[in-house]
Amino acid sequence: MNGPFGLNTWSMLTLKVLESKNLTKWYGKEVLALNNISFEVDEGDFFVIIGPSGCGKSTLLKVIAGLLDYNAGELFIKGTDVKQIPPHKRDISMMLENYALFPHMSVFNNISFGLKMLGKDRSTFDKDVKDSLKLVGMEGYENRSPLELSGGQRQRVALARALVVNPGVLLLDEPLSHVDYRLQRKLMEELKLLHQRLGTTFILTTHVQEHGLSLAETLMVMNTGVIEQIGKPNEIYTRPQTVFAARFVGDINLFSGEVSGKQGGVYAVKTALGELKVAAAAGKDYTGHKLAYGVRPEAIVVGEEALKCENHVQAKGINSYYFGNAVECVFEMTGGVTMKATMAPEVAPTLMHDRAVLGWSARDSMLIEKPSVIEGLNIEEVIYGK
């Protein structure tokens, strides 16, 4: 809703810090990077955008920042239409994927750059820079050159640099990508703490879904220029709306199936594994529909317990992967179909190539209607890959 002076009063009133409507962007004439993207970000939220490489999340972030232009649609930051507003006039700040620290300036000058551009009083720089460095745990590094720093240190300086200008929205482009595993965990914790302390809205992109799940207050899954699903992480995890979202967020066993009937709140679904049961949700009746049937690996039990479940199948163990706190076992059923199950190490079958019974409840299974938000995809192709 566009009011006078390009202000979106509704989003101003409801504290939506960012609002995108039908945002579309083409690269040249061939590549559609953003396809009618519409979403909102609440003030103070930790908003994470995940998706595979090339899905458009970096493009989206750059469009929000103002580094890239868009072809159609509207974008409002704090209620103002930003179509004509260049990056240096938007109330945002950004940490780029490769940090982009200015090599010809010291750490101090890098961080105070934004302050200098804003025309702030020089005498306040010292304090602001110090505070900023303290926030990221890099006190004392003011006079170093960026070229002397390690990757992790550069990242912190880049973060400090982005934060010192007190932005309304902080954009982070793949901050965890070029960092090793140990450091990733530490960084995630620090980002979360920072967010709690500052209360600034964070918008972060990553292609690693575990990071997305851990960090996000609101999670958005993207796929080649479209939004697959937005919601709270656990919503997306337990109730994915598309096969793509189900696959991308967490691990899942998927089969195509046809709903043969409904009995007492439970659907019977014909799949390659035989007839499987899944709890029916209120609303639409899926009888007769061709859908995807899914169950997460952690919901599967092995052995005697399995026989008590609504769903059970005979299987043969073919492989197992030890993760220290859990074991992921791969089983093969008749017809060559495989399934993954995760369980505590004590419970995992000690002998592979042995017969086992797998079982899971109807309540833990899910039915997914759409392969993807993208039109025209065949559900079986999406499940099994082309």
Partner: protein, 301 residues
């Protein structure tokens, strides 16, 4: 715990080596030519500047004297000479920069098509290839007594008789030099700009830098090696260019001009004195510029 020698932190391994001494062997041609045709002549020239001028088979006698230098420094037109030479070269370099910098910027950041870029660069080199004399003579067609400017002005009735002074001024020199040396200014700047990580510009923009600050704080400062390089190239080239002032300066004397005159008359010692002065000016400028900026950044690491 036994360990081999650990390389100290500052030392990088030098990568692939073509075997120990072969590297030095490869340098022989380059060093040989540089020594014989550059260092040696310059050294001899400096020595000759101290010889006495006398009519002889070589034009000088091998008697050391400082008379030449004394003559030079006490001659009445020397300060003007030095000043002219220096200021001409300086202004020429500044003008080339004024055109070369936007050009390099345009080529780096506004043109995406690589082929187009190459054609523009090639286009700039064409004037350089047209022989030096003809290049200058071509300007007669524009600024000469019967040139197009005069012709236009006459037909428009702005003036009643052709202006002859158009051709014989310093400005002609500047234009000709711009035409010739713009490549030397533009190319190093272009190379330097190309090396700038585009993300740095993005970062500056999101850090609230308005376009002109991005230009100054990022683009300008990071292409400084190239700028200085180009500036020095043009400065030195114009410093020693006697051909152009010869034809057009309309009385402005430059060192280069004097050198060529003395040379033509076989007055080697005096020519050498002037030449050595020229050399000293260049070396000073070089030294200052390379202190300001490390040109090696343009080329290695």
């Amino acid at each position: 715990m036994a360990q081999g020698p650990v390389p100290s932190p500052g030392k990088k391994t030098s990568g692939f080596r073509i075997g120990g001494y072969s590297s030095y062997l490869l340098l022989v041609p380059g060093l040989a030519i540089a020594t014989i045709f550059m260092i040696l002549p310059l050294a001899i020239m400096t020595v000759v500047s101290f010889y006495t001028t006398a009519p002889s088979s070589t034009g000088y006698l091998k008697i050391f004297t400082a008379q030449n230098y004394i003559d030079f420094f006490t001659a009445p037109n020397t300060p003007t000479l030095l000043l002219n030479t220096f200021s001409l070269a300086l202004i020429a370099a500044v003008i080339c920069f004024a055109f070369g910098f936007p050009l390099a910027y345009f080529l780096t950041f506004r043109i995406k098509n690589a082929t187009f870029k190459n054609y523009v660069i090639t286009l700039l080199i064409v004037p350089f290839l047209i022989d030096a004399s003809i290049r200058t003579v071509a300007w007669i067609a524009i600024l000469g007594r019967d040139g197009i400017v005069n012709y236009a002005l006459l037909s428009l009735g702005a003036i009643h008789s052709p202006i002859t002074a158009l051709l014989f001024s310093r400005n002609t020199l500047y234009i000709i030099w711009l035409q010739t040396y713009i490549v030397f200014m533009e190319f190093p700047i272009y190379l330097a700009m190309n090396r700038i990580d585009p993300d740095l510009i993005s970062a500056a923009k999101v850090l609230k830098a308005p376009p002109h600050r991005v230009l100054y704080d990022i683009v300008f400062k990071l292409s400084l090696p190239g700028i200085i390089c180009g500036f020095v190239f043009v400065f030195v080239s114009t410093l020693g260019d006697y051909v152009t002032p010869n034809l057009w300066a309309g009385g402005v004397q430059t060192l280069g001009l004097s050198i060529s005159r003395y040379s033509d008359n076989f007055l080697w010692p005096y020519a050498s004195v002037l030449s050595t002065m020229l050399l000293i000016i260049s070396v000073i400028v070089l030294f200052i510029s390379f202190k300001v900026v490390d040109i090696r950044k343009l080329v290695y690491e």
